[in-house]
Each structure stands twice: as structure tokens, then as C-alpha cells.
């Protein structure tokens, strides 16, 4: 197998293997880019959050620093499981959001009232897609979540390899060099203008 053929096969096979991710990132970017449109689409009176349960509860919340350990404790104490993140939007609330690719819930602990409120988010396609798009990182205690994050890295490396192999394949087709230069140069120039002028 020649280097040229190997490059072509890598470009193709990588593309086919990573096709679901690439398609997901493309489609899920639409609700990010046109958020107001999707927001209007769901202005139908259905509440965004539905209460699952509410109860008195008490836990010490650190004033600052990483809240993840406290969030984990709240979830364990209340029989809740899954991927999560914890943050403190203000002094009075500690919020832990639980999520899968398809669902999302929030667990809010009100520090002054010593009260826990668990709510489920309504199912919306735009939020499911943006949730899939934004999912990443190695913070979860789950092998599959880490594996997903590794695949994100593979997609990123794949994108860099597509650029490199694509440029190589373009260069090999002599008849397309002029238009190719114009496209590549035009893109670089436009991007540079955005960087300088935005």
C-alpha cells in the first residue's frame, strides 16, 4: 500500500467510524446557534421543571472551593445516582444537576431553610441535543463517561487528521490547486479578519 492510498483510506475509514459523532456535533450546534428560535418553539405553558420530591434535609456546605464532594453526599443520602455536577449559584442554594443523554434533573439544597428540592426537566429536543453536545470531561466516576470523553479526544484528533490528509489529497490533484488555494487562502483570510475585528 502506497502512502497516498493509506492517506485516502485513513481519511475515509476515520470519517465512517466517527460519522455518528460528527453528525451529532453538526446537528446539535443548530440549537446553540439559534437558541431564541428554539426557546420560542417551547413557549407552550408546559413548566420547564416538575417537582419529584421535596423534604427537610440538613448538610454542612463549605463556604467556598469545590462543591462536588458535597453534591455527591447529597445524592447518596437521597438515593439519587448518575453523572452530576455541583455549583453554588448564590449563598442560599447549592445546586446539583444530574444528567443522562436523555434526561436531566436538578437537586437544590436551600442552606437557610435546610430543605431539599428535586425536580425533573421536561423533555425538549433542543436541550437533549445541546446536552449531548456539551457532555465531556473526565470528572465523573464512571468508566463509560471517561470512555465517552476519550472518544471526544478521538473526534478532535480525527478532525486534525482530516485536515492534514485532506490538504495532502487536494495537493495531489494538480487540476484543483488554483481553486484550492483560493478556498484555503480565502478561509484563512476571513478567519484572520474575524480575529482582528470582532
Amino acid at each position: 500500500m502506497t502512502f497516498h492510498l493509506l492517506t485516502r483510506r485513513i481519511h475515509l475509514c476515520l470519517g465512517l467510524f466517527l460519522l455518528p459523532w460528527f453528525f451529532l456535533y453538526g446537528v446539535s450546534s443548530i440549537p446553540f446557534s439559534h437558541a431564541p428560535y428554539f426557546q420560542k418553539l417551547y413557549e407552550d405553558g408546559v413548566p420547564q421543571w416538575t417537582v419529584r420530591f421535596e423534604k427537610p434535609y440538613e448538610i454542612q456546605v463549605p463556604k467556598e472551593g469545590d462543591m462536588r464532594a458535597t453534591g455527591a453526599r447529597i445524592l447518596a443520602d437521597n438515593g439519587l445516582k448518575g453523572s452530576f455536577g455541583t455549583y453554588r449559584p448564590n449563598e442560599k442554594v447549592l445546586e446539583t444537576y444530574l444528567f443522562t443523554f436523555w434526561t436531566a434533573s436538578r437537586v437544590r439544597y436551600f442552606t437557610e431553610e435546610k430543605r431539599l428540592l428535586v425536580e425533573d426537566r421536561r423533555s425538549r429536543w433542543d436541550q437533549i441535543l445541546t446536552g449531548m453536545h456539551a457532555r465531556g470531561g473526565f470528572e465523573q466516576d464512571s468508566i463509560l463517561s471517561d470512555a465517552w470523553a476519550i472518544f471526544i479526544d478521538v473526534v478532535c484528533i480525527g478532525m486534525v487528521l482530516w485536515i492534514a490528509s485532506g490538504i495532502y489529497m487536494w495537493w495531489k490533484i494538480r487540476s484543483t490547486r488554483v481553486w484550492g488555494w483560493l478556498a484555503l487562502g480565502g478561509g484563512l483570510a476571513a478567519f484572520a479578519i474575524f480575529l482582528a475585528a470582532l
Partner: protein, 198 residues
């Protein structure tokens, strides 16, 4: 002929969008490894460095909204562009953040003495990449920002087109059908596993 149009469109579009795809690949890696980068930059938000301080001689109508005041100040400083403006609760301070992609700037205006403090954000590569990644949408009052949002939409359309045209080009090459099918099927299977488990 149709096949040639598909192939050339696939290639020229990709050549034009090389800088965007590279930026999205690198920024996604930076966000996927946020914890890793914290080792180098710490957990604190990116710092602001004082650039200069001056007295602003202009006046504003009493009912001027924060955004109107911000726009007038930015224009007079020669820094007009995408920004947000927040007035402190007591009205003693107006904070304007100018969303420059490379060096965001913060301008703090104190109406009582007309003082303007201009600060620049320290440059950090991961923060710069993340800013670029998140910049999108048509909510800004600036035409250039809308043009950038359009370029983001072009990337989205291109990603969906590359999936479709890639599949088309693969199917046309009979010799790679079996190999390609193996890669595509394994990618879909792994992706489906993720969707159903995490």
C-alpha cells in the same frame, strides 16, 4: 458530473473552513481536559490587568440604559464592538466587558467622578479557544458578529454536508464498501452503546 460536483464541493468547502475546524478541534480538547489545564493556570478565573485610567468627560441622559451608556463610552474610546454591560445595584458603577476574541477588555465606569478604569484580560490559550468555540448566535447589535454567526452556521451546514457527501463518495468506490461498512457499523454500534448507557 454529479459525482464530480459532490467531490469538489466536499473538498473546497473543507479547504475554506480549515481554520474553523482546527479551532473547534483544539478548543474541544481544551474543554475536555479542563482539569488538566487547571494544573498550569489554577482554579481562579482569568485575571484582569490594569491598562489605563482616565476621566470621561461625556454626559448621559438620566434614564440612559446601561447598554446605551456602554455603547457611548466604547465609541468614544474607539473600542466599539460586541459587549455586555452591568450596572451595580446601587448604581455607583457600570461594568462593561468588551468581547474581543483575543484580549477581552473590562471597562469600569464610576459616574460620580467620571472615572474610567480599563483592564485587559491576561491571555490564556485554553480560555481564548473556549471563547471562540462559544461565540455564536445573532443576538448582537453588530453586523460583524452576525457575519461570524453566519460562518458558524456555514460550518454546521458543512458538517452535515460532509457526512452526506462522504457517504456518497464511499458508496461510489465499490472496492472500499466492505471495509467502510465495518468501520461505519462499529462506530454506530459504539455510539448507540453510549446513548443507551450514560
Amino acid at each position: 458530473m454529479f459525482s464530480k460536483i459532490v467531490r469538489r464541493s466536499h473538498m473546497y468547502l473543507a479547504l475554506f473552513l480549515v481554520p474553523w475546524i482546527l479551532m473547534y478541534a483544539l478548543s474541544t480538547m481544551a474543554m475536555n481536559h479542563r482539569e488538566f489545564f487547571k494544573q498550569f493556570f489554577g482554579e481562579q478565573p482569568v485575571a484582569w490587568e490594569r491598562e489605563r485610567e482616565l476621566t470621561y468627560p461625556g454626559t448621559f441622559p438620566e434614564d440612559a440604559k446601561p447598554n446605551d451608556v456602554a455603547r457611548q463610552i466604547l465609541v468614544s474610546l474607539g473600542m466599539d464592538g460586541a459587549h455586555n454591560a452591568n450596572r451595580s445595584k446601587d448604581g455607583a458603577r457600570l461594568t462593561i466587558v468588551r468581547h474581543d476574541p483575543i484580549t477581552p477588555q473590562r471597562i469600569t465606569y464610576t459616574p460620580a467622578d467620571g472615572r474610567l478604569v480599563i483592564e485587559s484580560q491576561v491571555f490564556r490559550t485554553p480560555a481564548f479557544l473556549e471563547r471562540m468555540h462559544r461565540r455564536r448566535g445573532y443576538q448582537s447589535d453588530y453586523r460583524l458578529d452576525d457575519t461570524w454567526a453566519f460562518s458558524v452556521d456555514l460550518v454546521i451546514a458543512a458538517m452535515i454536508f460532509w457526512v452526506a457527501s462522504g457517504l456518497w463518495m464511499w458508496w461510489e468506490m465499490k472496492v472500499t464498501r466492505r471495509l467502510g461498512f465495518a468501520f461505519a457499523a462499529s462506530g454506530v454500534a459504539i455510539f448507540a452503546l453510549f446513548l443507551s448507557t450514560i
